[in-house]
Symmetry: C2
DNA sequence: CTGAAAGCGCTAACAA
DNA sequence: TTGTTAGCGCTTTCAG
């Protein structure tokens, strides 16, 4: 491995000068500069990122906490985030927590602030305590997909108006003429998808369309989970003409369930999801869904993190932590970014209800 | 940030002793050990990974080169690889090359040997030259999914017998009674999927089943690519009763095409893929495919890389590179690992051909 | 069993 | 414009 020192010797200058040339830190003569550059390419020198980071007092990576990178939503986000990180000079470390807070904590303990300069958090089932601790240790944290712009958390975040997404999906179904609509929620009751459910429910209510509790199911956020929920739902309520799913994966599962029950989508049953993952475009029929600005969220999250890192670098090196009193005031709303709103992608899985469906109201 | 030094002062010992305690490097008294441990937890000390790596002359991460982490196959692999890497004390950096060799080279230049101790290469369209250069600079490289155990590359690799996978898929179709079988290859002619195609073709040939060139299509390795290829194939050759796809994504696309052409799968058309990605299980009908040992390959790849790193640490620190003369002899077969063979997953997308299909032989 | 000292490769004041 | 001098936080001989 060629070191800065060797380059310096080869060029007949000191390490400092080589460093200056490489970092374009001005103060260096044209002649020497050239000699240094020649030495660099002659020796095939490449800066040692770890050494540089240590000397600069920074870290060369960002950490991305996800429950499992194999969840079809994350790679799309991770791709965009990694791109953005690169452009701010960071590499991206993926941390699969497997939904286990202990694993998450272990990652944070090890790399936050030492190997990673900041932490991006996707739904990874982490304890907020651990995140706060991470922050206090000097490694900024950003929640990447906060679902409620109206209720900022006490951590910096990028918020997406998922309540609106739910409302848009519901309105779409309403506009099509549906009045008997089931719901599949891809989280626990009051869980991560609560805002989506609210948006859906409130929109129905505002339109005077009944939505009894019994026509909602809470399911695992997966194709399989959606499948099971949809089967149960459709068997219990055959009069439903549409299903709202709080995420695309369960929506896809619902379409499969419909097929297995002999229902054609969209003629017999409309299905709408939320997110617009790649698969939604590729399903048969193509899934109508409410697109969420994934890429924008990724870019905003990285950008926000970058700013926070910069601020931490300057300000809070030794002092200023206790001053903010648990940091809620400043750490809350002030560091929330809101993405552009979700938008309807009406595709082939939704259509007006069949006119010959029985009009009875059950439950 | 608490440093080792601060811990040492707090405990009334020197940094060296603290280090010894933390690394369990023996030589330390029970009393002092306890005092140190107390200081550590009192101050909330966490070792600085970057500093440690620099001092130890190692790097804390492994790099995973992929064309795009959003390709549905990669996350499954990455997940397993990251787990394995963790257990060898490494974090995983994902490098999305976007199929661009320049981007790949840039990553390698920057992190190989400085931030990353070794490199895992999935199909990322890298130049072998760049990989060899990386190796010579002291950062071991492992190709993660070499498709031809019979033709080892001159780089360490984990090989999966994809020729066998192709053969198994073909045999499955043959066993079902199909004789008019089309092929969709998810790469360029002679490209990455050539071995799969060979296995398929040779098996048909051995069974005396004709497979004219015109019933093969080369496509983009995606659902969409498979869709287009299948449409073209089925429109040109309506007598086909089965389609072999060299990968699951194109196979899924073929199923969609069949649906759009009014063909039922598997009654009118059987479809078989290769890999067994998660989606294959979730499609409707569930895709018959030949499962490839992804997880095992990931684990083997990381393990092989770990060994190579260890060896490089010991041996080749200052000398021994030129000796091997381009390193082909030792770098080839000697460092190839072969996974367990692919295995058929017969699901719902394959069945015997309809007996009433016209028996004409065209082309 | 513990301490002192040197150094990993690089950067960042400050001097010259 | 360039060189000198300290470190970044940790590990690791080698003495004591």
């Amino acid at each position: 491995m060629t070191t800065l020192n060797e380059v310096a010797q080869h060029a007949g200058v000191t390490p400092a000068t080589v460093s200056n040339v490489l970092r374009s830190r001005g103060r260096v003569g044209a002649a020497t500069r050239q000699r240094v550059l020649d030495a660099v390419s002659a020796l095939g020198y490449r800066p040692h990122l770890t050494a540089r980071a240590l000397a600069e007092g920074r870290a060369p990576t960002l950490a991305l906490m996800v429950s499992s990178i194999a969840n079809p939503f994350y790679p799309e986000f991770a791709l965009a985030a990694e791109r953005a990180a690169r452009s701010s000079g960071h590499f991206m470390i993926v941390c699969n927590t497997n939904e286990d807070p202990e694993v998450g904590r272990a990652y944070l303990e090890q790399i936050a602030g030492t190997l990673s300069e900041g932490v991006l958090v996707m739904n990874a089932n982490l304890h907020f305590d651990d995140l706060h601790k991470t922050e206090q240790r000097g490694a900024p944290v950003v929640l990447c997909m906060w679902e409620r712009p109206d209720q900022p958390p006490d951590l910096p975040c990028v918020a997406v108006d998922f309540r609106a997404a739910g409302a848009i999906a519901a309105q779409h179904l309403l506009d099509l003429g549906h009045t008997r609509i089931g719901a599949i929620i891809g989280s626990k009751r009051g869980g991560i998808h609560a805002a989506r459910q609210e948006g859906f429910r409130d929109t129905l209510r505002a339109a005077g369309v009944p939505h009894p509790q019994s026509t909602a199911r809470f399911a695992h956020d997966s194709i399989r989970g959606g499948y099971q929920a949809a089967r149960s739902l459709l068997e219990a309520h055959p009069q439903l003409t549409a299903i709202f799913a709080s995420n695309d994966l369960p929506a896809l599962g619902a379409m499969h369930a419909a097929a297995d029950l002999g229902l054609r989508v969209p003629q017999d049953l409309s299905v709408v999801g939320i997110t617009d993952i790649e698969l939604a475009r590729e399903s048969r029929p193509a899934l109508s869904t409410v697109a969420v600005p994934t890429r924008q969220a990724a870019e905003m999250a990285v950008d926000l993190l970058r700013q926070l890192i910069e601020r931490a670098q300057r300000g809070g090196n030794k002092a200023g932590f206790e001053a903010a009193g648990k940091g809620a005031a400043d750490g809350g709303t002030a560091t929330m970014r809101v993405t552009s709103p979700p938008v309807l992608m009406a595709r082939a899985s939704t259509a007006p209800p069949r006119s010959d469906m029985p009009a009875e109201t059950s439950d």
